[in-house]
């Protein structure tokens, strides 16, 4: 349970970090370390080089214009208390109540959650709801990736070995709307067995717009667009919604393992999804 040997670098500027990423063959970026450190300790990963980005202050800033720009190194504990996030993105703070424990939020970062991309992680689900734009930098330039194209496969984000996630850009919804986030885990703070997030805009009792993200049930967290499509533009009637969601829920290819069966995940997700929609509608 000890990490294998590696060479450690702690660059103090983005430029230096990107230079290292370009030159080092087998490097891992260390941000909050709340996922990478366990993997190092268990030797699931044995990189030759660790590039610690904690000294790069510019990666830990939150700024707001008509969009929120969140530096990738912003810690979960900061996001959980930040007044700008509370005002513009309250669902992120609600989702964070489910993320790990306060002792892991002390160090865990939003960029780390997005790059580790656990299928049940909450922050990617929030980023999905808003179609966040992820900015990654490399020695050769900057590129933007829409959140819906971020997850390529199980725990595999669309980022190459010489790139670094630098910021997450989120455009909050305008006008009156509500948000809901629901999850179930065996122990508070553990990864979800199933989770659902929802943003909803209701006008004259008609669902004008809706975004739903689901986590824990498939290889990657994703937008549940099939479900959004059946709910958009219909009357808000929770009994009807309970019926409408059944078909899209039946088409999910649920994770099924020795601890949690697919059938159980499906039952859980149904309940959580309905609750998230109701919670969002109640706040709209």
């Amino acid at each position: 349970m000890k990490a294998s040997a590696f060479t450690y670098y702690k660059p103090n500027s983005l430029e230096d970090a990107l230079g290292l990423l370009q030159n080092e063959e087998d490097a891992k970026v260390l941000a909050g370390g709340q996922s990478l450190m366990p993997m190092l300790n268990m030797r699931f990963v044995q990189p030759e080089t660790i590039i610690d980005v904690n000294g790069i202050d510019e990666l830990a800033r939150i700024s707001v214009t008509d969009k929120l720009e969140i530096g990738a190194l912003t810690r979960q504990k900061t996001l959980a208390k930040d007044p700008t996030i509370r005002q513009h993105l309250p669902i992120m703070q609600e989702a964070l109540t489910w993320v790990g424990h306060f002792q892991t939020q002390s160090r865990g970062t939003i960029g780390g959650s997005l790059c580790h991309l656990d299928p049940a992680a909450e922050l990617p689900m929030v980023a999905l709801l808003y179609d966040a734009e992820l900015q990654v930098a490399s020695a050769s330039g900057i590129r933007s990736i829409p959140m819906q194209e971020w997850a390529l496969a199980y725990m595999m984000p669309s980022i190459s070995h010489d790139e670094l996630l630098t910021k997450i850009i989120i455009k909050p919804w305008q006008g009156s709307h509500g948000y809901g986030f629901q999850e179930f885990a065996r122990r508070h703070g553990d990864f979800a067995i199933a989770a659902a997030g929802c943003l909803i805009k209701i006008d004259n009792n008609i669902i004008e717009d809706i975004a739903i993200s689901i986590g824990g049930v498939e290889d990657v967290p994703r937008r549940f667009t099939e479900c959004e499509d059946v709910l958009r533009a219909i009357k808000y009637d929770i009994d009807d919604i309970k019926m409408q969601v059944l078909k899209p829920l039946s088409k999910i290819n649920y994770l099924d393992d020795s601890l949690v069966t697919g059938a159980y995940r499906r039952r859980l997700l149904r309940g959580l999804l309905i609750r998230a929609v109701e919670q969002a509608a109640g706040r709209s």
Binding site: M1, K2, A3, S4, A5, F6, T7, Y8, K10, L30, G33, Q34, M37, P38, L40, N41, M42, I50, D52, N54, K77, G100, H101, F102, Q103, T104, S106, R107, R187, H188, G189
Partner: protein, 159 residues
């Protein structure tokens, strides 16, 4: 093998030494600083036994490299009581409420609760239970620990 000179303030004293890149803070505290009150359980961030306080924040010492704690203020279980040995209200309450049996989780429980209650001692039972949800105890069933935390919180709030 790459080594680094590190220096940190641990429980108010300067501790320095050479560490390998891969050495985590928990191992450094136990092996180089000789502070074996910090217990290493799972070493992947699940059990909470190794929790210490770094620059005011409770962190898992198995999930932070020793080299990352260079120039930091670290408090371990050995630094919770007064210098003259007077127990901290949390330690006192743990004793009064039978909040430990084997003692393996206790250092992590106390450091976690210390950081949590230092931020704000006015906490409900639910909040306290949530705060230690990342600390596993296999002996007590948690009831004594929660009672102790409530008792200490009350005392700390009056300070």
């Amino acid at each position: 093998m790459q080594e680094h000179e590190v220096q940190m303030h641990v429980n108010g004293k300067v501790v320095s030494g050479k560490v390998e890149s891969r050495t985590h803070l928990g191992d450094f505290l136990r092996q180089s600083a000789g502070l074996t009150g910090t217990h290493l359980g799972c070493e992947h961030g699940v059990c909470g036994a190794c929790t210490v306080i770094v620059d005011g924040d409770a962190v898992r010492s198995c999930l932070m490299l020793a080299v990352q704690a260079d120039n930091c203020e670290v408090t371990t279980i050995e630094g919770i009581a007064e210098a003259d040995g007077t127990l901290h209200p949390l330690q006192e309450a743990f004793r009064n409420n039978h909040a430990l049996q084997c003692g393996f989780c206790t250092a992590g429980m106390i450091t976690s609760l210390h950081a949590f209650l230092s931020e704000n001692p006015n906490r409900s039972e639910t909040e306290i239970r949530e705060a230690i949800s990342g600390n596993i105890c296999r002996c007590t069933g948690y009831q004594g620990i929660v009672s102790a935390a409530m008792e200490a919180a009350e005392k700390l709030a009056k300070r």
